[in-house]
Symmetry: C2
Subunit: 342 residues, 2 copies
């Protein structure tokens, strides 16, 4: 078993002190070029690789950030928004030399939860926590005292980043109103996602108010973000005495479910009923009719959250506590004036 070389092995090989080798590794500018070269070639010769553990122990920093998705894995990895968040965080962290330690699951006492991983051991420098489902995980993790950035909405006194849900919903509603729709139904998300969904409802109400119209008060259903729940919600909506002419689902999955119900019931789309979604997933552009949706630019949100956290770790406090990232309405084929010929 050939033991891995250490700082001191390299130092001996290069004829310098171990501290000098450390300096070379950390790109200390005070090291002479000649010495640096000598050390570098010694490192190469011995195939030296620093031990992250030792570095973490000595410096107190692991250069790893934890990303907590407090959802069950099946949901977390199916949700386009969450995945994009991971993507954005990954991109930012990787380019800044940090690692990304992933953690799904909610239950704090589950021995395999984020709690055990991040709080009970000290393995990360900071935490990125998705706050979608609310839940207690945030408070639990907070107690660990890590520098934390929340992705989503939080009542706690933490730095947070979230997309402009209100503005997105405003844009959709305004778009539908402008097309001439009045009976606009909402397929809301699950009640646990309170703050984000509330923001969207605010946007919707504001758009109605700005258009001097009343929000139809009987046209709201709840789903759980799955296509199946969107199908069921649409079914209930279309069964009403006075059915909606437009369905605004609070995510694309449910919107696609609604689309499927409408097709199954032989409605002409979008002539009979317009449908709009939220999240602008890839599927939105692939279905027929393609789905009008709100892009949350989730990758950017994830990236921004990571950037703020890294700044925090570097001691730079963010300018504001709450960061709102712009969202964009993508108008596609699933929305049209009510009764429009196809």
């Amino acid at each position: 078993m050939s033991d891995r070389p250490t700082l001191r092995t390299v130092a001996a090989e290069a004829g310098v002190s171990h501290q000098t080798v450390s300096r070379v590794i950390n790109a200390d500018p005070t090291v002479t070029e000649a010495v640096r070269d000598r050390v570098l070639s010694a490192m190469r010769l011995l195939d030296y690789r620093p031990s992250a553990g030792a570095r973490a122990l000595a410096s107190g920093r692991t250069e790893v950030v934890g990303l907590v998705l407090p959802h069950n894995p099946g949901f977390a990895f199916s949700n386009d928004h969450l995945i994009r968040l991971v993507q954005g965080a990954d991109q930012e962290l990787t380019t800044r030399g940090y690692g990304l330690l992933l953690s799904t699951r909610e239950v704090p006492d589950d021995p395999s939860s984020a709690y055990r991983r991040f709080v009970q051991r000290r393995q990360v420098d900071g935490l990125l926590v998705e706050a979608g489902a609310g839940g207690e995980s945030l408070t639990v993790l907070r107690s660990a005292g890590y520098p934390t950035v929340v992705i989503g909405y939080t009542a706690e006194d933490l730095v947070s980043v979230h997309p402009d849900d209100e503005g997105g919903a405003y844009a959709v509603t305004q778009h539908l109103l402008a097309l001439g729709h009045r009976r606009i139904a909402v397929v809301n998300g699950p009640r646990e996602n309170g703050l984000a969904m509330a923001a969207r409802l605010r946007g919707l109400h504001r758009a109605f108010a700005d258009a001097h119209r009343d929000v139809p008060d009987d046209l709201m259903e709840h789903g759980d973000f799955t296509a199946g729940s969107g199908y069921a919600a649409a079914e209930r909506l279309m069964a009403r005495a006075d059915p909606p002419t437009a369905i605004f689902a609070f995510n694309d999955g449910m919107a696609l479910g609604a689309l499927r119900l409408l097709r199954a019931h032989r409605h002409a789309l979008p002539a009979d009923v317009s449908v709009a979604g939220f999240d602008d997933t890839e599927a939105a552009d692939l279905v027929d009719p393609s789905l009008t949706s709100v892009s949350l630019h989730s990758v950017d949100v994830g990236r921004r959250a990571a950037r703020i956290l890294l700044d925090l770790l570097d001691g730079r406090a963010p300018a504001q506590r709450e960061h709102v990232m712009p969202s964009t309405l993508k108008v596609r084929a699933s929305t049209a004036p009510p009764g429009a010929a196809r």
Copy 2:
């Protein structure tokens, strides 16, 4: 700045030696119950949390596994199969108390690549490497000498896990042949994914051979797994003098693109042209007509790979070098006998 308590702080509080505290943490059965209780309450009192860094340094194990997706992030996080792989690995690792350190990107010299992260520092105990795009990353990572499990196909002498691509393609082809199709076109993946795509072609050829039919030799196009490339490939195929009656795309994205082209050209689906995909993504079930596809059970593949790696880390060598996980044909509405009334 209140310093975090260490093993010795806890030991002092509980009136035992630091080693005893360590034993309690590691659930050493030789510790008396009375002592254990005393230590545990001291830990609780002081809000003690072990330092992962110190532990890693002393024990040589980090309890973290690296997962390398050698693709650019935009692709990696859009590909359903890859995401499911991550999900499966995450599930298995988390339940076994391991962490999952993610790494995308290909280029080995990119300072922010897997190379820097895993090879240059020693931050993980083992590696899970997706081999889809082939490329040199595998050889580079191999040089690091980590216990490694490859997800996908590899020519190297490494333990690997992959879905039954050949069987899946065989099932699709057999299905199409049984429906009466003869002119079956293939939308192949990018040439970099050589080994996986070759396996699928083998399955296709075997199905034709078993049915005593010849593979139409003019009906193959290449795409890059995006819907756009599937659209383009279908366009080229349908422009032929003798167009296919069925299109078998080697992933769902391209199949959905093909579907879109066919709809745009006002073909009746699936009466005029049948379409089948690969991967059984969520979208396959959401489009109209719903897409016949092959489920690779990617979550299981990821989970299995993780399990094998953990066994490897525990010193248990796997029984075989190559593990093939079953795949399943999901017949949906996009395939029908040629010329069938809708």
